[in-house]
Symmetry: C2
Subunit: 206 residues, 2 copies
Amino acid sequence: MRRIPEATIRRLTHYLRCIEFIKETGATILQSRELAAFCSISDSLVRRDLSYFGEFGTKGVGYSIDELEKHIKKILGIDRIKKVGLAGVGNIGSALLKFPLRRNGFHIVAAFDIKEELVGREINGIPIYHEKDIPRIFKEKGLEIGIIAVPQNVAGDVAEKMIEGGAKGILSFALLQCPLSRKIPVRYIEIAAELEILSYEIEKED
Amino acid sequence: MRRIPEATIRRLTHYLRCIEFIKETGATILQSRELAAFCSISDSLVRRDLSYFGEFGTKGVGYSIDELEKHIKKILGIDRIKKVGLAGVGNIGSALLKFPLRRNGFHIVAAFDIKEELVGREINGIPIYHEKDIPRIFKEKGLEIGIIAVPQNVAGDVAEKMIEGGAKGILSFALLQCPLSRKIPVRYIEIAAELEILSYEIEKED
DNA sequence: TCCTGTGAACAACTTCACAGCG
DNA sequence: CGCTGTGAAGTTGTTCACAGGA
């Protein structure tokens, strides 16, 4: 199979959001043109994106919404729940603990912080452990994904502990400055960067 | 001037992060190769990115770190503080109110919520108003950017109120389903989508 | 000499346009 | 006929390779 553009994968997540929305209207068939309109892109791009993974549609008709949803979830690997561990129960961290990520197939099973007064407590039913126990708890509970919401200066250490515990991927709110000992996929959420890009778009004269 | 790739703008924000970091080491000159290594990209891409905006470097030497920082901030429009209004003082919203965005040139001046018990209070020195007052406060205080951290079903209404108040750009944590009355730049932070992309990267056999 | 800035080559991604199937 | 799936064309973004200035 050809290499898949990252942009295609990102759009797949948009398609999923649209499908969830459209499903509520009771529709069962969806055409590339309609899905494209929802996402403000061209219909041929929708077809191209889906065609990377097989032939899901029916010529002359469109795509079965249920089938399409199942296929996209399979492609994204969210056809089964993934267990997540979150480090850093500060502002962002505790907000995420209350966030309904489970709806999207991600289950935050354990949280970690360095503050003794937090260790042993629970937020939203999620137990908080000490950060030094990250490797052990990741292994014991079979956590696959780590979310990093700690200050930047310790983010690298936390990432290493997650990797030591067998994490397969990391989503980080802090820049990981040092190269990681073992290569696993890392994605960033950079609020400041998004605001800066927005600022550029505002200022540039079109 | 040629059209600038969005990827270039995103990298500009990375360059800024690197510069902030490198400045602390006391260096005053930076070469494209070094900056590229920090960002794990090619040196020619760094030079290409910068060349879109003029000739900042000195041949045979490199770039003055201070000059480069100033130029990039100018390009991104963050050479002056931008005032921000934030709607939705829930989990994510109140975390953002405590986040030091000011360091990056963004000043959250007002927050908004629909809950009467929050209205009139302050978080981190930022006053909370009722969401119905978004247009008035945006105008009165000259807010340029709106951050949306409200539930998805009211996100569209909130966006419209911000636009009515003269907002020039929006950063949203919720999908804005309806088309906006006036076209302004909108960027999204989609935590679920990032996790889904991460999931894909984990599952795919390389 | 060394590193920047940039045409030209190359690679990646998107759109076009239509064959082909239901 | 209508809509998908896909070669081919077109467009956009990145790398190469080197001219040219400090």
